[in-house]
């Protein structure tokens, strides 16, 4: 291989904040060659996102960066704004980890995808829009011609992510920094996105830095892998070598925690009481072009006490919407939700406390579901305090305990969401939900931003809670391996309908519907 495209030498990033200084990245060095795909895996909060942002000079003012970043012989750290601008989006572009907050809420997505084309390639707006539609099609967004007029708040999590990807590859950059680009995508779409990246890589020598916690994905597409922990690179090398003969103990632990290798827990007895009874739910949204769009269509399901129900299906198929209906955040057009036989559909603004105590939800978008002004401690302590779940004297203790449960370092307690990594935010959300000590937990992609070790620990935690307290879980995920290892029952969503349901062993081992089969086929494996 000739001269590397990107050379990162001794990158150091630290943040000044009120609490003092955080050293997020230390002495990181790596190269990316032309046409190479580099994977970065590692612990949540280990500095993966920060490193990527540092490359494009996108860190907040509070960050101080040192070291050397060279992109085809230009020192990016030495460039002025205009110089950086020329490179951003055209030569090097980035897919951010929280797609939701990284899209302008007031601009239609079509325009957001066409922007870089207009500015880097002097495309006329109509040309750019046509190209944007093409890109959106490439990232598997359905009906891109109509979708271009949608606004971010009208899209599902996975759709937003694909919009981000489309915008990033719009100008055919040389290097793509993809920070967890497929976390919110179901496996079929994920597979196609990965395929797309691969084909861009093959045809246009697109180099990619792929940040992911999904080792299988990394194994599938990456030439080389870097493993990060505590802001440092602990191991790097050829993908196969790192994955099949990991040297560093952390890497070994990472591979160990891969869901496929976890023991499958025996299904609980199916004769317990019915906990949740969702019947014939229809949900409609006003669609951008006028008229309505049916997000859920006659959805019914039953969840028994202590059971874990996996919800899988393509992005935008209505999984989160279902969760919102159960939580009373979205009012269905028709249908009913019963908890232990009692209807819990809310008419008033305030949700019934007795129901909330029993049913909790972890939101898909970890960042947006945290009040930007609350520190981690405040976020977790608030429900405990308000509902007097623990005596005031025990409050600190309980918060610390919850943070420990989700593997959050106690030093993060005073941070605000903007100062956390994606996975850290997600765990704050989990801790907050668990603080309520619910009987039913709706977990909407709770592991999407977590590295596998922590993922494994969280799953272990949930399993423990199921055993000890009879917790029931609705587990929305696109990670079929995880669903297989964790759930008893599963429903498969497609376009707002349940296309298949039943015991995990049945549905996932012998799928009846072609869609389910396709889903299974797309699962990346190590």
């Amino acid at each position: 291989m000739s001269e590397p495209l990107l050379k990162v030498c001794n990158l150091d990033v630290s943040f000044r904040s009120r609490g003092g200084e955080t050293h997020a990245v230390r002495n990181v060095s790596f190269d990316v060659g032309v046409g190479e795909i580099i994977g970065i895996v590692g612990e949540s909060g280990s500095g993966k996102s920060v490193s990527c942002r540092a490359i494009l000079g996108l860190l907040p003012e509070s960050a101080s960066v040192s070291g050397r970043i060279e992109y085809s012989d230009q020192n990016l750290l030495g460039l002025d704004t205009e110089g950086l601008r020329r490179i951003r989006g055209r030569d090097v572009s980035m897919v951010f980890q929280n797609p939701a907050s990284h899209l302008d809420p007031l601009m239609a997505i079509g325009a957001q995808v066409s922007e870089p084309l207009i500015h880097h390639q002097d495309a006329s707006p109509t040309q750019a829009l046509d190209a944007a539609i093409e890109r959106l099609r490439e990232v598997q967004l359905e009906h891109p011609e109509q979708r271009v007029n949608s606004y971010p708040h009208e899209l599902s999590g996975g759709m937003k992510q694909r919009v981000m990807i489309a915008a990033a590859i719009a100008c055919g950059p040389g290097l793509l920094l993809a920070d967890e680009p497929t976390t919110a995508l179901d496996v079929t779409v994920q597979a196609r996105i990965l395929e797309l990246l691969k084909s861009l890589n093959e045809q246009h020598y697109l180099s990619v830095v792929l940040v992911s916690h999904d080792l299988a994905v990394v194994a599938q597409v990456c030439d080389r892998v870097l493993v990060m922990r505590h802001g440092e690179i602990v191991e790097s090398g050829d993908t196969k070598q790192v994955i099949y003969s990991p040297q560093h103990p952390y890497t070994q632990q990472l591979i160990e925690s891969q869901p496929s290798r976890m023991t499958i827990r025996p299904p609980v007895a199916t004769d317990t009481d019915t906990l949740l009874d969702v019947s014939n739910i229809d949900v409609e949204f006003a669609s951008p072009g006028g008229g309505t769009m049916r997000a859920l269509n006659d959805v019914s399901l039953i969840l028994r006490q202590g059971e874990s129900l996996g919800v899988v299906g393509e992005s935008g198929s209505g999984k989160s919407t279902l969760a919102r209906v159960v939580m009373g955040l979205v009012k269905p057009k028709s249908g009913d939700v019963k908890l232990r036989g009692q209807s819990i559909l809310q008419k008033r603004n305030r949700l019934d406390l007795s129901v909330c105590r029993k049913v909790q939800m972890v939101f898909q978008n970890p960042y947006d579901s945290l009040n930007p002004r609350y520190s981690v401690y405040e976020t977790i302590a608030e429900p405990l305090e308000r509902h007097k779940l623990v005596p005031a004297t025990k409050l600190d203790e309980r918060v610390a305990e919850l943070m420990g449960l989700v593997e959050l370092d106690s030093s993060l307690a005073s941070r605000k969401p903007a100062q956390l990594s994606g996975g850290q935010c997600q765990r704050v959300g989990i801790a907050r939900a668990l603080a309520m000590d619910p009987e039913l937990l709706i977990a909407d992609e709770i592991t999407s931003a977590l590295d596998v070790t922590i993922q494994a620990q969280i799953i272990a935690l949930l399993n423990r809670l199921r055993e000890e307290r009879g917790l029931s879980v609705i587990f929305i995920s696109h990670d079929l391996t995880l669903v297989r290892s964790f759930c008893d029952q599963v429903v498969v969503f497609q376009s707002g309908r349940i296309v298949e349901s039943g015991a995990v062993s049945g549905v996932l081992e012998q799928p009846q519907k072609s869609y389910t089969q396709e889903l299974l086929l797309s699962v990346p494996t190590l």
Binding site: R16, R324, N349, F363, N371, R373, P383
Partner: protein
């Protein structure tokens, strides 16, 4: 604590604090009685016995400027606090709940906005009698509307934010969500506006003084002093200049505080 305040906040707070001290210590800081007239020494220029000269009835302008801080600070604070509290509360609830409450409140807003300030003040002054308290009552009755409208617009957006929905799923009561989650994320423009508004309130007093319905003579109040003095602008500029200067400095202090607070409240800004 203070060391971490933005510079503008420290500076603004300093100015306002100076005025507060001046207001409290007014009797000790000034050489004369703010109300004592002296027909032998009217319209004396600044200098000598009179630091800032004397006005048309021979009162010491400096003394009056210092004493006026008492009224003006009180007027500014009360004239903003009352409408702010009312307006923000109503705007929050109306925006958050929407529906009938919102419709009714917004209609009341429309109705209130339809009354030019002057009518209300005149009516209230006529009904309750002239005076500063009634002026503030009139102000509270009108000005809350601006706050309500401003905050409501933001609430409409924030209430759909996921963290607010998350708070709802935690079974928090609506007031709690409104005050602890929605309010902090919508308040910063309000605070900026409130600081501006405080200046405007002091000025509204002056404008009313211009049509003769502000504070009652002989109360020392910057706006009224400017209004009284403007007639002498060519003959004795100092009569209106110094109270004007005082008002401007106070206004600068307040705006700096507003900027500083906004900066402190802004997310991710250090």
């Amino acid at each position: 604590m203070i060391a971490r305040w933005p510079k503008s906040l420290r500076f603004g707070a300093g100015i306002v604090l100076l005025w507060l001290i001046a207001a409290v210590l007014a009797p000790w800081l000034t050489p004369a009685d703010p109300y004592a007239i002296d027909l032998d020494n009217t319209l004396r220029p600044p200098g000598g016995d009179w630091l800032m000269g004397t006005d048309h009835v021979g009162r010491d302008v400096f003394t009056r400027v210092v004493f006026a801080a008492r009224i003006d600070i009180w007027m500014g604070v009360m004239g903003v606090l009352a409408p702010l509290l009312i307006g923000v509360t109503i705007g929050l609830f109306a925006g958050y709940f929407g529906g009938l409450f919102d419709s009714v409140m917004m209609r009341i807003v429309d109705i209130t906005l339809a009354f030019p300030f002057l009518i209300l003040v005149l009516a209230i002054v006529a009904m309750l009698g002239p005076g500063i308290t009634n002026f503030i009552i009139a102000l509270a009755l009108v000005a809350w509307v601006s706050y309500a409208r401003l905050i409501r617009a933001d609430v409409m957006v924030v209430k759909n934010a996921e963290y607010v929905q998350a708070a709802r799923t935690l079974g928090f009561s609506s007031p709690l969500i409104i005050f602890k989650h929605v309010l902090p994320n919508t308040i910063s423009p309000i605070i900026v506006y409130a600081m501006t508004d405080m200046v405007l309130v002091v000025l509204a007093g002056a404008s009313l003084g211009f049509i003769g319905l502000g504070v009652q003579p002989p109360t020392a109040e910057w706006g009224a002093m400017i209004a009284d003095g403007q007639a002498y602008i060519t003959e004795a500029w100092w009569v209106s200049f110094f109270p004007g200067l005082a008002a401007v400095s106070f206004g600068i202090g307040l705006s700096l505080i507003g900027d500083g607070l906004a900066r402190m409240l802004r997310i991710g800004d250090t």
